[in-house]
Symmetry: C2
Subunit: 415 residues, 2 copies
């Protein structure tokens, strides 16, 4: 795709965004519901398109994990439609008055939430993201440009066709969702520099995509980054609680960013806890430092690299620490700033951990797995920000808005 | 400066930021007051250093404007100290609980304001920024790395020496303010890519610096951009009020970003208003379209370029429009998204302008000159953001913070 073609798509998205910005909540919700209905109505067509993508993935010897992410069935299409219905039920963030005051000179000031304009999403072989991202963007008054991967192109085309039908039926411009169909690698570079047309970029992918965005993007972006999440078990911890939390944080769904990757244990409780974990972390590949291995014979030796790695798998790096300070120092060194938990019954330890650990979420006596838009009450999420600018942690529809100062006067001038 | 040297400064700033993050408001305010006192106590030393910079600027034939910005005197040093006292009096944003709730499973959730960590500032020959930026960053719990220009290096060194003395006297690490003394052009590029050590970058400079940051920075940044600000006079406007606002917005301080650069006038009031402005905009170089020039004989012909330019001077581009729609379309095309004003007595026109114009600030019946941290009640500002991410419009201490989720439980795990 020539730059001009991508620019033309951007121009169309921007125009649609202007029209969408003033749409009422009722109209937006209607578009969301109709889009969901259109997905279900066109399910055969979507499944046929998806079968083409799946066949190509098989021919390319993609892993079963990749194919499972890519594969759609009736239930998954119904679930995408259900997601759109859930987003329709959320409060509309646009127009929310965040704060306001009257100045001594009589100027009336308020800050209101407004859409960004056009949101650009770069993502991998997950066709459900096509529908989910459109839903959250539309609800927050933003047009969306979707740049999916080559391997899901047929599925994405069919899904976007259905979504656009639903949107148009509600009287909104169908260009509020635009699929970039040129999926050559080079166009990603153009996409992240489309500053004239894209107001916010959300790259959803691995470290190489993030590195490319950091290096090349001129569009403002929010990084949905790694989760090298820790659980620290304090000397005062209730060990039953600690064991339950550790099993949940590691094993309930190891492939996601809010799963635990490293466990730190205070030396006073190391022997008792680690012996129990040896038995209860069935099927988990354990690596640890010398003091860990003294209590868990099957544990391998943990390298520097292990402590720095987001395994996204049934693997856990363990370290025994001498104090809360050591735990905080370890976390400060290796954390990716996602979610960090402490298990403790000591008030001062909890307070210090909460204050001194710098992450999107700090957790006391609960599983890291709760750091998720749904679990935190955001309704749905477009990602989890590991950056500090604009949004941190799970991002819902509110994080897809900006603010505008509205200043009203009676002829005031500055002296 | 080798990258490692800049990295070493960054490492020191990061360490200081960790210590500062937990400092009490009382300690931070004490450091601000003592820094102000140190500026005054070391005024002779600062003035001697400044004289060296001013002499060099004169030798290099810099303009009087540049020299005026650079020059310090006793009053200006006292004013810098006064600025630090004002920042000390502001509320501490750190620790503010923004929102919170209890989830159905009993998890207690809150979002609290936390410092970014290390803020990097790139700026020009304005030694007062050295003190102002340190004050706002320290108050918001951030260490600051200052990268001023070569032309103010001696002044900045003397100022930072005094500030560090005050900070240390309050018991805080003096590395909460670090001056990058290697002011070669190449080091700016390293500075904006110091992602491991700098958490937020605020470039304060012209379009070429902004372009460089967009292109090269990997550190998250907030753009303090141009203000190509418009005033639109509606058909229903009170023309006395319009004239007052126009004179103020253009003439009160033409060199700043919230001054008006373009005026749009509804055709129904064009003749009456423009004839009055011809008389009252004394000393302002006027350019306009054909319909403007029909009423202002002295006006030159406005080019496309004129409408797109932030003059920062006693020059004004004027256009006559047929409708509010035309005015909004013109603004959408040329606006830099800073501050846009309408003068009207019509409720629907005011409402549409507020809703449909996309800028950091939209103003009804008041001068654009009010878009300023002090005027809007922020106390002091570190810049005015023209981007939509994180902060929009004037940025005070609150905009120098991020958020953190704090999640507290009693052993909850996810099912």
């Amino acid at each position: 795709m020539a730059l001009t073609e991508l620019g033309e798509l951007g121009r169309r998205a921007k125009q649609a965004a202007h029209n969408l910005a003033g749409a009422s909540r009722a109209t937006k919700d209607d578009a969301l519901l109709r889009s969901g209905e259109a997905l279900v109505a066109h399910r055969e067509e979507i499944l046929r398109a998806n079968a083409v993508d799946v066949a190509a993935a098989r021919a390319a010897n993609e892993s079963e994990t990749v194919i499972d992410r890519l594969r759609l069935d009736q239930a998954r299409i119904e679930s995408m439609a259900g997601g759109l219905r859930e987003v329709a039920a959320l409060d509309d963030p646009v127009g929310e008055v965040v704060d306001g005051s009257v100045r001594p000179n009589g100027l009336r000031i308020r800050r209101v939430r407004v859409p960004f304009g056009v949101v650009g999403i770069i993502y991998e072989n997950r066709p459900n993201v096509t529908s989910d991202a459109m839903g959250l963007c539309l609800k927050s008054g933003n047009a969306v440009m979707l740049r999916g991967s080559a391997g899901a192109l047929e599925s994405n085309r069919a899904i976007v066709r259905a979504l656009r039908e639903g949107i148009a039926a509600a009287g909104l411009p169908d260009d509020v969702v635009i699929l970039v169909e040129d999926v050559r690698h080079e166009t990603v570079d153009e996409f992240v520099r489309l500053r004239a047309h894209i107001d916010l970029l959300i790259p959803r992918g691995g470290p190489s995509l993030v590195a490319m965005v950091l290096d090349r993007a001129t569009v403002p972006y929010i990084i949905d980054g790694d989760g090298n999440c820790h659980v620290y078990v304090d000397a005062s911890a209730d060990l039953n609680m600690a064991e339950r939390i550790i099993i949940n944080a590691k094993m309930q769904r190891p492939s996601v960013c809010n799963a635990m990757e490293s466990l730190l244990v205070h030396r006073d409780v190391a022997e008792m806890l680690l012996r129990r974990l040896d038995a209860s972390l069935v099927g988990v590949d354990l690596v640890g430092d010398e003091r860990t291995r003294a209590h868990i014979a099957r544990a391998g030796s943990a390298t520097e690299e292990d402590y720095a790695t987001e395994f996204l798998d049934l693997k856990l790096a363990i370290g025994v620490v001498d104090s809360l300070d050591d735990a905080i120092r370890h976390i400060r060194r290796y954390s990716s700033g996602h979610s960090e938990a402490i298990v403790t019954s000591d008030y001062a330890s909890a307070t210090r951990f909460v204050n001194e650990v710098d992450a999107a979420a700090v957790i006391v006596n609960a599983s890291t797995r709760f750091v998720d838009g749904g679990e935190l009450g955001l309704g749905a999420e477009i990602g989890i920000s590991t950056q500090k600018l604009h949004a941190r942690g799970p991002m819902g529809v509110r994080e897809l808005t900006s603010l505008k100062y509205v200043i009203e006067g009676d002829g005031q001038v500055r002296s």
